[in-house]
Subunit: 273 residues, 2 copies
């Protein structure tokens, strides 16, 4: 099920700047147990992204109405909702035409089938060769320029590896290809600062808020490969998978293994409530 600018359709114009330049943003949202999870946070991030890219998106109310129409049709089937906003068609070359209305696309996908119990028994991750580049204008937002993630994710095909961990150019650990990463060290929760690269995930923000509400000490900081190797607990998160404990990170030198720790389990429980 796909709506393009409010109409049932599965195609867009070749001239759309989303295709021509990756000139847009997206959100991937869980619809579970008859409810859209963290909808407000997703829409807030989307609007923040539009502001950062100066995309004049003024159809938020229309988008919300369209979402509810689609969900009525879904009934109680779990699904993934993907929203794409592009700067629309037009403009000569990179210069955009300010009078053009942005394109809004809502696609509904079946909820992905992940290995059962990943949240319970944990997953294995690996390091990606592909680095995340630094870009102050683009850091944090979920824009459509995702070749780094595509190249990183295509480095492995082994289904036993759930995620690839990406570093920046200074060997800082930033995030997974499709998730944010947290470590716990000496009772403190740590996650990468995302001011130069990475995507500031909605679930990442939710976890930081839960930490504040529940007196879990946390810090957004630089995380080295060594800090990651010596962590007490490691987990990854996104809106679809929730929190997955990482129990093993494959490395060229020595594979690091981790227990499923207390804080990881506490956050999983808090998130479930």
């Amino acid at each position: 099920m796909i709506l393009v600018n409010g109409k049932a359709d599965s195609r867009i114009n070749v001239s759309d700047r989303g295709l021509q330049y990756g000139d847009g943003l997206f959100e991937t949202i869980a619809y579970r147990n008859g409810e859209i999870e963290f909808l407000e946070a997703h829409l807030n991030r989307l609007m923040l992204g539009c502001e950062r890219l100066a995309i004049p998106f003024k159809q938020l109310k229309k988008l919300q109405v369209e979402l509810s129409v689609l969900l009525d049709a879904l009934a109680d089937n779990d699904a993934v909702i993907k929203i794409v906003i592009t700067r629309g068609s037009g403009g000569r070359g990179y210069l955009s035409d300010k009078t053009v209305e942005p394109t809004r696309i809502i696609s509904i996908y079946p909820f992905p089938i992940y290995p059962e119990k990943s949240g319970e028994i944990g997953v294995t991750a690996r390091f990606c060769q592909q680095r995340l580049s630094e870009n102050l204008s683009l850091a944090g937002i979920k824009h459509l320029n995702r070749l780094e993630q595509v190249l990183a994710r295509n480095e492995w095909v082994d289904n036993g590896i759930a995620e690839g961990i990406m570093l920046d150019q200074h060997n800082n650990v930033i995030e997974g290809t499709m998730s944010n990463l947290f470590i716990v060290k000496a009772g403190e929760l740590l996650t990468a600062k995302l001011n130069k690269s990475g995507v500031a995930g909605v679930l990442r923000a939710e976890i930081l808020q839960l930490s504040i509400d529940n007196n879990i000490s946390y810090s957004e900081t630089e995380i080295s490969k060594e800090s990651l190797a010596n962590a007490d607990e490691v987990f990854i998160c996104n809106s679809i998978i929730g929190i997955w404990p990482v129990i093993c990170i494959l490395d060229a030198k020595i594979n690091n293994t981790y227990p499923i720790g207390k804080i990881t389990k506490q956050l999983q429980k808090l998130l479930a409530n």
Copy 2:
């Protein structure tokens, strides 16, 4: 006139990875005086880009046939040919489906109307705030992740400014938003190394080849803002505009002005033959 996978069409699937992730490449080619300019060089760069991104594009012959069909229809009207190759539709998330055929799109646009005589009288440029990020995997190729260029080009609207000059994170001068940049200093032609960022333009390569053939000494090197300020000649180039001398670069501190120099004129003449 647009062909999508060989068929007259103006739309593509929403699920195309070109839209979803900017997962693809493009070429912008001049059709002038009944001839496609530097076609072989463009197709070579396109195939190199496919190799770099591991896009299994095997329809080069079909693409060439489709190009000639479109051009027959054009007759003697000058035009810009844009070719887009994407990794196609499908794959779950960033992981691609290796069995999917890439999407090929050929669009024909009217030749753009640039201010007359820019090549003769020169143009004014400015510096962009937006930086080019460093990415070893993506440097040099003309991929669809172009948000940096979009943001840079939208920094100004003054038609009197023909191009914006982009720096990398280390304040090296790399290129224009839509062009490569050359300077001449003490009789030597200099252009930025593009091993970490930038697009290795077809006309840039042609100019380097002309320099070899005509004993013009050149170097691909790091160019600082200071070197640019102190250059004897400056010009920008791409496949559509050819060579435009830069006669003024607006700067916060002091505007730099340049004559239209001997080597710029020599290269323009060589290119015209």
